[in-house]
């Protein structure tokens, strides 16, 4: 199989060896907690990570493993670890390498959950973050401190849609010997393979475009296998002996997948946010059509950008594919197929008109998810970003009239008809 390397082929086949016992063409759902060991020696070698194999489904599961290997192949990484949610992936990835006293430089324009994790939760454990303007690469460099251990951002910022200059920031990260971790949920490996641009670790909420059908929550950490953990003594969790596994040294034993293995050995064991096999199966089904869906997401987005751009009730439209977007050049560079299917726009008439629009569309669902096959709309100021203060709201580039649109796979003519109803209601509010 290893000589079939194109994206669509990998999204169907990577990670799966046809079941040897019966030849089942689909990946079996190993809905099991545990695995019977053939003998005690095998058992102890699996437990000690001396050989592959499954012991307990919190640590590994054969169905989940297929998804992990498939995503690693699509992303071009060395290994992947699936988690119960995207947030669990972020938490496990950060805590695998950072400890008390360590520091992160992160983009200020990210999903509210990421912001909250770094602003509220991690500081309780002595891990602090400096948030910087993602459009100013130099700001990342300027924020680096002696105790900085990680640079973090989202390739397509949420919800401002600013594009990170991956290569520029990767260069800074390399110069300071820091790993560069990117939440690549909005782009998926189909639109951008971050490791090709110097990123070292990617995080995805697989719930979104990868799964694509809004049926299961899941996350993944992908190890790029391209960071030299041994170059400094700053990453003792990777390079120093790990007592729970008889002094195992991940860097020496696992090299390019040392980071992923550390997550497996520590986070999956002691924290335990494992993905369920049923979710892995459902997400695998979604992943099989990732590229087909993304192409349709993008073509629908293109039509809607034109529609919204010329609509009299729309005060502004933001998408990196629009020439007037500040990240347009970076979008062309990193996302040549298109900069994703999230669009933000303002409804004339402010907060109340925005609400009227959302309440009067019928096809588009009002809910807090993105990347579903169905078109979704939300008002970030009152939902996804409601738990961050006013100052941070401005810093995150959110205005009160902003609607965030996740363009679905419906016939785009129907989406336009639906939006027309929303705008008619918004107009009444605006002119009242």
């Amino acid at each position: 199989m290893s000589h079939f390397n194109h994206f669509d082929t990998l999204s169907l086949h990577a990670g799966q060896t046809v079941d040897d016992e019966f030849g089942a063409r689909a990946t079996p759902i190993y809905q099991t907690t545990s695995y019977v060991f053939p003998d005690t020696d095998t058992a102890s070698s699996i437990f000690n990570l001396e050989r592959g194999g499954h012991a307990y489904s919190r640590i590994t599961n054969p169905t989940v493993a297929v998804l992990e290997q498939r995503i690693a192949a699509l992303e071009g990484g060395s290994a992947a670890v699936c988690t119960a949610s995207g947030m669990a992936a972020t938490f496990c990835a950060i805590t695998a390498i950072l400890s008390q006293g360590d520091h992160i430089v992160a983009s200020s324009q990210m999903y509210g959950g990421n912001i909250s994790l770094m602003k509220n939760t991690l500081p309780r454990f002595g891990i602090t973050t400096t948030f910087v303007d993602p459009t100013d690469s130099e700001a990342f460099r300027a924020a680096i401190q002696d105790n900085t251990r990680l640079i973090y951002g989202e390739l397509i910022g949420n919800p401002g849609l600013d594009i990170l200059d991956l290569a520029a920031i990767a260069k800074i990260a390399q110069r300071y010997q820091l790993p560069f971790m990117v939440d690549a949920t909005f782009n998926t490996p189909y639109l951008c393979k971050c490791f090709d641009h110097g990123v070292n670790i990617t995080i995805h909420s697989v719930t979104k475009w990868m799964g694509g059908h809004g049926v299961a929550i899941g996350g993944v950490v992908v190890d790029g296998g391209n960071f030299d953990w041994g170059a400094t003594d700053r990453y003792p969790t990777i390079t120093e002996p790990y007592a729970p596994f008889s002094g195992l040294n991940f860097w020496e034993e696992f090299g390019p997948s040392a980071f992923a293995t550390r997550i497996r050995a520590e986070a999956m064991r002691d924290i335990g946010p494992s993905m369920s096999p049923m979710n892995a199966f459902l997400l695998l089904q979604g992943l099989e059509t990732l590229s087909l869906r993304m192409d349709r997401h993008l073509s629908n987005t293109k039509v809607l950008l034109e529609y919204l751009g010329s609509h009299e009730q729309v005060s502004w439209v933001s998408h990196p594919d629009l020439p007037d977007h500040s990240s347009h050049k970076l979008a062309k560079k990193y996302l040549p197929k298109g900069a994703g299917s999230i669009v933000s726009f303002g409804v004339k008439g402010g907060r109340d008109a925005g609400r009227a629009f959302i309440e009067n569309v019928e096809l588009a669902s009002h809910l807090a998810n993105v990347g579903d096959a169905k078109t979704l709309v939300i008002h970030p100021a009152t939902t996804t970003h409601s738990r961050i203060d006013a100052e941070a709201l401005v810093a995150a580039g959110i205005t009160e009239d902003m609607i965030r649109l996740s363009v679905g796979l419906e016939d785009v003519r129907d989406i336009k008809v639906d939006f027309e109803n929303g705008f008619r209601a918004a107009k009444k509010i605006a002119s009242a």
Partner: protein, 383 residues
């Protein structure tokens, strides 16, 4: 091995590839063949003809009844249909115990009758009536014991003897008691039929059925019908049912104990006209029920004084019990067969076999029996 060990382990071996202690859910349509010559060498080609997860449940069912083979179906009715299509042709005759489940009655009178199959519904408790119904073209006896919802019992060994003499097959719908309490194949029946929806699943999670055959050639005939008509069980359902089976005997014992307590409570209640539960000494066929089964099950019915009007009032007002079809689940259910499960049975036939208007059917669940009795007490007060 004892029943409790078998209900857990039979049919399931650790997955050879990973050691997975549970059978994986083979949610797959097709199976990759190693070569043309080795077609089917691993046993599977297409999930309509066979699926490893479904097969694990079939092997368990076979083992629990010391049978030759089993075939799982999409529903209990599909299992009944599989047996009928396998052994009845145009011009053939079948003897069915009255009253069978409403769906069985409908299948016989509304569907198979159109294809020239004849049916006689007999009182299974009366072996003379059963013997008298035999014709030259009688090919199948289908009995249901205890019967749904009347609880009328059929002497399985007695009917098996008549069937054998007539050269016909005897199939027993053993859904109410399961192989844990009643073993038709040991009473010379040819096959047991189950709605696995009931005590095998036991959690109201699935619909499914099974035919458990004493003879391989019978199983082959039934499987051929399934392959041709396509009424298969899905791997997800098989997997959930495999899990349910592990606690089947525990649930049945506890639910039956609850049923006995409820039956005794109802029998002594001034607002109750009659109670029918095989475990009561007052049950007309107490001797037969005690002789051919090791337990009385968790199904019963009763009639409130005041008939249908009073019964409806009770069913509409009771809590803890859910007003719902289905039976055998851990949740206690209360059903009005005349308007719900047996609405398809014609009125004259219904009354002839004892499904009276005021009959309230109870599937006793696993709740604390004090709560169940308390709920009945309160509902009866409102009548």
């Amino acid at each position: 091995m004892g029943f409790r060990t078998r209900q857990i382990h039979a049919g399931v071996t650790p997955d050879p590839l990973t050691g997975s202690i549970l059978t994986p859910i083979y949610q797959t349509t097709t199976y990759v063949q190693s070569s043309v010559d080795e077609y089917l060498s691993k046993g599977y080609s297409y999930s309509r003809s066979g699926n490893p997860t479904v097969r694990a449940l079939e092997l368990k069912m076979t083992d629990l009844e010391d049978a030759a083979d089993s075939i799982c179906f999409g529903t209990g009715m599909a299992a009944v249909q599989g047996v009928m299509l396998a052994f009845l042709n145009a011009g053939d005759h079948a003897i069915i115990s009255d009253v069978a489940y409403g769906g069985t009655y409908r299948l016989c009178t509304k569907i198979l009758a159109r294809f020239g199959v004849e049916f006689t519904f007999v009182d299974g408790s009366n072996l003379d009536e059963v013997a008298a119904a035999v014709r030259d073209n009688t090919k199948l006896f289908l009995t249901e014991t205890p019967a749904n919802p009347t609880m009328k019992c059929t002497d399985i060994a007695g009917v098996s003897k008549i069937a054998r003499k007539a050269g016909a097959i005897h199939a027993v719908d053993n859904t109410f008691l399961t192989p844990y309490y009643q073993r038709p194949l040991e009473l010379d029946a040819d096959m047991s039929i189950y709605s696995t929806t009931k005590y095998m699943d036991g959690h109201n999670a699935t619909v499914g059925g099974a035919v458990v055959c004493a003879k391989q050639e019978h199983a082959d005939a039934v499987r051929f019908i399934q392959g041709s008509t396509g009424s298969i069980m899905s791997p997800q359902v098989a997997w959930l049912t495999l899990q349910g089976c592990k606690t089947m005997s525990l649930r049945l014992d506890a639910q039956s104990e609850n049923a006995m307590a409820i039956a005794e409570f109802l029998e002594g209640h001034p607002k109750v006209k009659q109670v029918c539960y095989p475990g009561l000494k007052s049950f007309a066929q107490y001797e037969l029920a005690s002789r051919q089964a090791t337990g009385y099950g968790a199904m019963l019915w009763f009639e409130v004084k005041g008939g249908l009007v009073a019964g409806k009032k009770l069913m509409d007002n009771i809590d803890v019990f859910s007003l719902a079809e289905n039976l055998g689940s851990v949740e206690s259910l209360i059903t009005h067969p005349v308007t719900m499960t047996h609405a398809a049975v014609e009125e004259a036939e219904r009354i002839r076999v004892g499904i009276i208007d005021g009959l309230v059917r109870v599937s006793v669940g696993l709740e604390d029996v004090e709560d169940l009795i308390d709920a009945l007490e309160r509902a009866l007060k409102q009548v």
